[in-house]
């Protein structure tokens, strides 16, 4: 009779994969995560000695309170949205293009070449078209380089595109200090674009926002309805399946990365000729990286990216507002954005998995 009943010890926490969650339920989870992030952010604000509700309110008002600030918010959203769409083309085929920054910069430089040096010869319309094409071509070629090397020699596109960012940045610094330095300036800076060559404003913001909306629709159709979009999806899921289906994987890499880079280059052109009117090291301003977050949060859906980019633009604008109004330091506002993103990305875990606490799982299907 040596049989002893030993208390069975289960692990304290276990993970189990869920069946697919219904859409409604998963959106509820995301809603809860958003609320929790606001509460957590609120605690941080409270710790800083401010009223969270007042701060949140001023963030919203700071982004949407008046026509002037709305224009500013849209101005932030436009480059984010177009870059996110561009990057998502590459991401859809699991080509990790984190070189959005560099592609934006070379796009701006190429547009800048015509904007700065041919503005006095060409009338506005041909000039803008020329800048547009130059920006897109330059961005596209800059994106093409890592794709070609990956197709030929299997290089790692993540490192490759990242390094190209720094090269582009260094090139701008060189232009600022040397050949493109504004005459008569004691600072290293590039001259301003002539007012006659700047992009026309529609409702107070350069027409890039209309283009961005058109791109949302066009890219959505491209990705889901065309053969090329289908090929991107197949390549992204499995290179082997793509080869089996007779898809030329290298060709898809190259073609799609050109489009991806060209869209980022377009952003550079818009920033130069519609927002900054000059080129500085800050012309891309981290958009190439923030756009990665936008694309992921939206799960590569162009319409989702529209919503997310506007939301992030609002957070950025709003955090500016609370900086001036409550003297909350810029780093604290960034912290708030970080908390919200952390919760939004983290809740995806709970959509795919559930946790089982020891002793709680007594029933089974």
């Amino acid at each position: 009779m040596s049989v002893q009943k030993v208390k069975v010890k289960e692990p304290l926490l276990r993970m189990a994969k869920r069946d697919t969650m219904s859409n409604q339920k998963s959106w509820t989870v995301r809603g809860i995560a958003f609320l929790l992030s606001l509460i957590t952010g609120g605690l941080v604000i409270l710790a800083l000695g401010h009223n969270p509700i007042a701060v949140y309110k001023s963030m919203v008002v700071g982004a949407w309170g008046s026509p002037t600030v709305i224009r500013e918010t849209v101005k932030i959203a436009v480059p984010l949205l177009i870059t996110a769409i561009g990057i998502s083309f590459a991401f859809k085929m699991k080509f990790w293009n984190i070189g959005g920054e560099g592609q934006i910069i070379v796009g701006a430089v190429a547009a800048g070449y015509f904007g700065l040096f041919t503005a006095h010869i060409l009338p506005k319309l041909p000039l803008v078209i020329l800048m547009l094409l130059a920006g897109m071509l330059a961005g596209g070629l800059y994106g093409l380089l890592p794709a070609l090397c990956k197709a030929k020699w299997g290089t790692n596109e993540t490192l490759f595109t990242l390094m190209l960012n720094y090269i582009a940045l260094a090139f701008v610094k060189y232009l600022m200090n040397g050949p493109w330095k504004a005459p008569g300036s004691s600072f290293p800076k590039i001259a301003m674009l002539a007012p006659g060559a700047r992009l026309t404003k529609v409702f107070g913001v350069h027409w890039g926002w209309i283009l961005a909306l058109v791109l949302v629709v066009v890219s959505s159709v491209y990705l889901s309805k065309t053969k090329q979009g289908y090929e991107i999806a197949v390549v992204g899921e499995s290179n082997n399946t793509a080869r089996y289906a007779g898809i030329n994987v290298s060709k898809v890499f190259i073609r799609t990365m050109f489009i991806s880079g060209a869209l980022c280059g377009l952003v550079g052109m818009l920033q130069f000729s519609g927002a900054d009117y000059t080129i500085t090291e800050g012309i891309a301003g981290g958009v190439g990286f923030t756009a990665i977050t936008v694309a992921w949060l939206a799960k590569m859906n162009p319409y989702g990216m529209l919503v997310v980019s506007v939301f992030i633009a609002m957070l950025e604008r709003g955090s500016n507002a609370i900086q001036t109004q409550f003297k909350i330091p810029a780093s604290a506002s960034e912290l708030l954005i970080g908390i919200i993103l952390f919760f939004m990305l983290g809740c995806e875990f709970f959509i795919s998995y559930r946790l089982i606490v020891r002793g709680k799982e007594e029933t089974h299907a």
Binding site: M1, S2, V3, Q4, K5, V6, V8, K9, E10, P11, R14, A16, K17, R18, D19, T20, K225, T226, K227, Q228, Y230, A233, V234, E237, S238, N240, T241, R243, Y244, A245, G246, I247, N248, E361, H364, A365
Partner: protein, 530 residues
């Protein structure tokens, strides 16, 4: 236990008793209230179809999974097995289907890997101990041989010795014969009998009935995660076991319809390919496939089967030989050279060759896409313009679901979520839908349950009757010998013979799988000389 009214005295003679074990993964119930008893010093066969929960149950014994419910007793004592290490300390050792060995180390080094001990290793002593252990049970093994120089059966030997070296007295073998030739299987069974003599208790997981009959003392049967029962092997037969396993009586005979008219469809001459290391994966392979017949291809895993299929399908580079495909042009057949062409170039020549690859979700299908998008994978280019047409593929998907009885929530469900048998039906259905003249299928029933497997055999026979040349790469020799009209045997990338399966024995084929008779090889190449 006492409440079940069992004699505890008898319980103590049990090496293992599993009581009402339940394990679920999400909504899937892998094991439901399963009871299992392993007596000391017996060989118990654990029989069940693919997906019946055999491996899951055993993984709970070896500490890989933790049961949701139920108790496990080892030698009469209730235990909680929380890690593989703890399972070892209880004397339970499992030999998995996929070996976990370090290629660059020797057999002996792999065996002692992970054991506690001194900082230094006395290799001489370890080698001696391993050799002694091997001899004791009748294994052939050189302890100083590196794993990368070993054949599959030798690697399996190392895995078994690894477990024995750690002092296991309860051994679990997960489908050990799947990778072995008939001769190697016999050898393994002898070793298992020696271990039994030595007092070890053994569980062998399998779904091959003849092996169950040959080796086991008792058979425990699982069906769809549930425990069906246990029978003494001498008191049962294959028909009864099948019925217990499938749930109803079923004929295990595979049809081999006769087709009169046989036309030459595909001729492979001297095909030679290199693998990643520059070694010949295919060496001067020659054969002809005829319409209206099934050409079986047998061989030990990794004998060049994958390279053969992929080279013909335009997915693997070759360094020599040629592949001629007979294409009908206004009533006359002309031979097209297709070796070296890419899949899209082959199809642009008007060639309808279907290929069901071994890696269904990694090559044949896109797991994350729905059925419509998968069905149009091979044909989406036919639509004119820049857009894809999803109407025709959707209609075809619906037709396939109905005709092949594919179980799916709908055409919009990603195929990766379907069960193995249904995934294969989607893939085979799509390939057949393009009315091929040659159909290459690689391991088409791997992982499928018996019903699905027989449905697949029927589909292949239907194609054969339509005059399609079917090339069937298989692993189960019994199946290959029943379904094939001719059987080609590969050994180390060479053709060791093409035989009529009605006229040879399984043992003869087993010999051909491990040995190339030069005379036979010459005969083969002579046959197709042109």
């Amino acid at each position: 236990m006492a409440k079940e009214g069992e004699d505890l005295g008898e319980t103590e003679k049990l090496a293992i008793k599993m009581n009402k074990i339940t394990k679920t993964f999400g909504k899937v119930v892998a094991n439901k209230d399963v009871n299992l008893e392993l007596r000391e010093g017996e060989i118990l066969a654990l029989l069940g179809e693919n997906g019946s929960g055999k491996t899951t149950l055993m993984n709970m014994l070896s500490g890989i999974y933790f049961p949701d419910h139920g108790e496990i007793y080892v030698h009469g004592k209730e235990v909680t097995i929380r890690s593989p290490k703890y399972a070892f300390s209880l004397g339970i050792g499992m030999i998995h289907q996929h070996f976990k060995l370090v290629d660059v180390l020797t057999a002996a080094e792999n065996i002692i890997l992970g054991l506690d001990g001194k900082v230094t290793v006395n290799r001489k002593e370890v080698n001696k101990k391993v050799s002694e252990l091997a001899q004791k049970y009748g294994f052939d093994l050189d302890p100083t041989k590196k794993i990368y120089n070993m054949a599959v059966s030798e690697k399996q030997t190392v895995e078994i010795l690894k477990v024995l070296y750690r002092g296991a007295d309860i051994l679990i073998l997960d489908e050990p014969t799947a990778v072995l030739t008939p001769q190697e299987t016999d050898k393994l069974f002898n070793v298992l009998r020696n271990m039994k003599e030595d007092g070890k208790s053994i569980i062998i997981i399998t779904h091959k009935l003849n092996e169950v009959m040959a080796i086991s003392d008792r058979v425990a049967i699982l069906r769809k995660g549930e425990y069906i029962g246990v029978v003494n092997t001498p008191e049962t037969d294959q028909a009864q076991l099948t019925e217990m396993m499938v749930g109803r009586p079923i004929s295990l005979k595979i049809d081999r319809p006769e087709v009169e008219e046989k036309e030459e469809r595909l001729q492979v001459i001297g095909l030679t390919c290199l693998n990643g290391e520059g070694v010949k994966a295919l060496d001067n392979v020659s054969f002809t496939a005829y319409g209206g017949e099934i050409l079986g291809v047998a061989g030990i895993a990794g004998s060049g089967q994958k390279e053969l299929c992929e080279a013909i399908a335009g997915l693997y580079p070759s360094i020599g030989g040629s592949v001629l495909y007979s294409v009908e042009h206004e009533g006359t057949y002309i031979k097209e050279r297709i070796l070296g062409l890419k899949p899209d170039e082959i199809s642009r020549k008007g060639i309808a060759m279907a290929y069901v690859p071994e890696d269904r979700l990694g090559m044949g299908l896109v797991a994350g896409m729905d059925m419509t998008d998968n069905v149009m994978l091979r044909s989406y280019k036919e639509n004119k313009g820049i857009f894809v047409d999803r109407k025709a593929p959707k209609a075809l998907s619906e037709k396939l679901i109905e005709e092949l009885e594919i179980v799916t929530p709908g055409v919009g469900t990603p195929v990766g979520r379907l069960s193995g048998g249904n995934v294969q039906k989607v893939l085979l259905g799509r390939e057949i839908a393009c009315s091929p003249s040659v159909l290459i299928v690689a391991y088409p029933v791997r992982g499928l349950d018996i019903n699905s497997s027989y449905r697949i055999y029927d589909l292949l026979n239907e194609q054969k009757k339509k005059g399609v040349a079917v090339i069937f790469i298989g692993e189960d020799l019994d199946v290959l010998m029943e379904i094939s009209d001719r059987l080609m045997v590969l050994c180390g990338g060479k053709v060791s013979g093409i035989v009529d399966p009605k006229e040879v024995t399984k043992e003869e084929i087993g010999l051909m799988m491990i040995h190339v008779d030069n005379q036979a090889a010459d005969d083969v190449s002579g046959e197709v000389d042109v």
